[in-house]
């Protein structure tokens, strides 16, 4: 009779890359639905285009590299990159912007480094940043949110604009777009106005930007579900949001006329999407407990610095990429000691 002895773990769950990616994709749903509701068909078109581009580019690169295509496509990592990029892009961006972003994300951001697990930078953010510095005009094409006066194109108008570049009859581009709340704060403070006056602009809602606050709350809800399902760890999102909150609080208390409130920063731009879904990418984030705290805090700090004193209205993508570079160093210096490594007499 033979007794099998197995080493731990003795209980295994169905934890595969594919399952993780699909659950993360579902967790994006509340925020994505809010974004579609407030910003119209463009968001949905972006998602579809970006998803198709990323899956196509993944399949193409896998073929070129002589790897099996099917399993890698089914694991959902390329799809998740596509979803994140699609949600990050401005809804009125033309089709070729989405295409270029998806190609750069998958080809340069992922496969030239060796594919899933080898990429030092978050692929979706690589694609986004390439677009941001290459096409500054197209990357500001945010429509006015639902509930703000302005033109809200229907599906046909959105399709005509995205693929053919045709505006609805008798309308200029200016009537389709509107500065995002972060952009508005930045411009108007630059003009010497005080936050108290800026808050009465139509883009502002009750907590932060109109629409943006609900999109961010949606991502927050999805992120909390991810935490509860133990798909991500609390350290990175808490550190991102915590450092952003503390910095915003300090400056807001010091000079409330020129520095927006912490709540505004938490519910504006890409804060929640970045903190829960982008910064927590297991491939590119730090993997040690202390390293994750430093990594997250660094992202919050860079986001705040860029929003207030940088050249762009939001800085989540730059912050994530910059901390991605720092990740190997962080992991090296914050490695937990192996049991028995320290001399007890010390």
């Amino acid at each position: 009779m033979r007794f099998h002895t197995y080493s731990s773990p003795h209980l295994t769950g169905p934890n595969e890359v594919g399952l993780l990616m699909h659950r993360v994709a579902w967790a994006l749903a509340p925020g994505a639905l809010a974004a579609i509701w407030f910003f119209g068909w463009g968001v949905l078109l972006n998602l579809a285009l970006s998803l198709a581009t990323c899956l196509g580019a993944e399949a193409l690169m896998l073929r070129l590299r002589g790897r099996p295509v099917g399993p890698a496509l089914r694991d959902g990592s390329a799809g998740l990159t596509g979803l994140l990029l699609g949600l990050a892009l401005p809804p009125l961006a033309p089709w070729w912007v989405v295409l270029v972003g998806g190609l750069f994300a998958m080809v340069l951001g992922k496969h030239l480094f060796g594919g899933l697990g080898y990429n030092p930078f978050n692929p979706a953010m690589v694609g986004y940043v390439v677009l941001l510095i290459s096409f500054p005009r197209e990357m500001t094409l945010w429509p006015p949110p639902q509930g703000v006066a302005g033109l809200h194109p229907g599906l046909l108008d959105a399709l005509a604009w995205k693929f053919l570049g045709q505006l609805p009859v008798g309308q200029g581009l200016d009537s389709l777009t509107m500065a995002s709340p972060l952009d508005a704060v930045r411009t108007h403070i630059g003009l010497g106005q005080r936050l108290e006056e800026i808050r009465h602009l139509p883009v502002f809602g009750s907590l932060a930007g109109r629409g943006w606050e609900w999109v961010n709350l949606g991502y927050l809800a999805g992120g909390l579900w991810l935490l509860r399902a133990r798909l991500i760890h609390w350290r990175i999102p808490t550190a991102v949001l915590g450092s952003l909150f503390v910095l915003a609080m300090v400056f807001h208390l010091y000079d409330p006329d020129n520095y927006a409130s912490p709540l505004f920063h938490l519910l504006s731009g890409a804060t929640m999407l970045g903190a829960f879904f982008i910064a927590t990418d297991p491939v590119t984030a730090s993997s040690t407990p202390r390293g994750q705290l430093i990594y997250g805090a660094g992202i919050g700090l860079i986001v705040y610095v860029i929003r207030n004193w940088g050249g762009y209205p939001d800085g989540m993508a730059f912050a994530v990429l910059l901390m991605n570079i720092a990740t190997p160093t962080l992991d090296y210096y914050t490695r937990p000691p192996v049991f028995g490594e320290r001399d007890p007499d010390e």
Binding site: V100, V130, I133, S134, F135, P136
Partner: protein, 232 residues
């Protein structure tokens, strides 16, 4: 000390030991000024001239320079050559000189030049040193032009813009607009585009080398049975 043939020296400089693609030297000017073909050509030719002159001088004084002080002497020689070239460029190609700016005097610190002086010219006869300077310089220039063309085409959709800066008014209409109504892909002209472009060029060179290696190996396998039977 081995004495390579002229053909070997030429092949090393242009391809197998290319300063930009294999030695990865002189990155600073290579990445900074290659935003267009003309800029790349201008800096490449200035670097080539410096390399030829400095290699020639270093080689001809190699017996009278004591080894302990050779590096400072080489630097002095290179700095003098670059100063002459800088003044000549300022006099005859003033507009191009203004575009290239600080990178012309910075040729002094280009590692390709001190590298060739130390590794090659200080140990070889003057004729070989001159040829090495020319081959290395041309190899560097070719990469600068290719990188400049890639970035100019991707960034602006043109080639040979501003050629009149270098070749006079007759070249003022040389500008080729290959992609009309092109929106411009800004990242190609910005510094990240230089790194991406250089990386792609190095990858391309490695790919070509590997293909050649495979082909040679395949030929060897085919050719191998014949001498084996002859020997038996």
């Amino acid at each position: 000390m081995n004495h390579p043939s002229y053909a070997q020296i030429t092949r090393e400089g242009l391809w197998s030991n290319n300063p930009a693609l294999v030695q990865i030297l002189g990155m600073c000017p290579m990445l900074a000024v290659t935003s267009s073909v003309v800029n790349g050509l201008g800096l490449g030719l200035a670097t080539t001239l410096t390399l030829v002159l400095s290699n020639g001088i270093v080689s001809s004084i190699r017996h009278i320079v004591r080894p302990e002080v050779r590096i400072p002497v080489f630097v002095l020689v290179i700095a003098s050559v670059v100063t002459v070239i800088q003044l000549v460029m300022d006099a005859y190609f003033h507009e191009l000189y203004k575009v290239l700016g600080i990178f012309v005097p910075l040729i002094v610190t280009n590692c390709v030049i001190i590298g060739r002086a130390e590794a090659f010219a200080s140990k070889q006869r003057a004729d070989r040193a001159l040829l090495d300077g020319l081959a290395m310089g041309l190899g560097f220039t070719l990469v600068l032009i290719t990188l400049g063309a890639m970035r100019e085409l991707a960034g602006h959709g043109t080639l040979f813009a501003q050629a009149d800066l270098m070749l006079g008014p007759m070249a003022s209409d040389w500008k080729l607009t290959l992609l009309p109504h092109y929106r411009g892909f800004l990242v190609a002209v910005l510094p990240p585009g230089a790194f991406l472009g250089l990386g792609l060029l190095i990858a391309l060179k490695n790919l070509i080398d590997r293909r050649q290696e495979q082909r040679r190996a395949a030929r060897h396998r085919q050719a191998a049975p014949a001498p084996a039977t002859a020997a038996s």
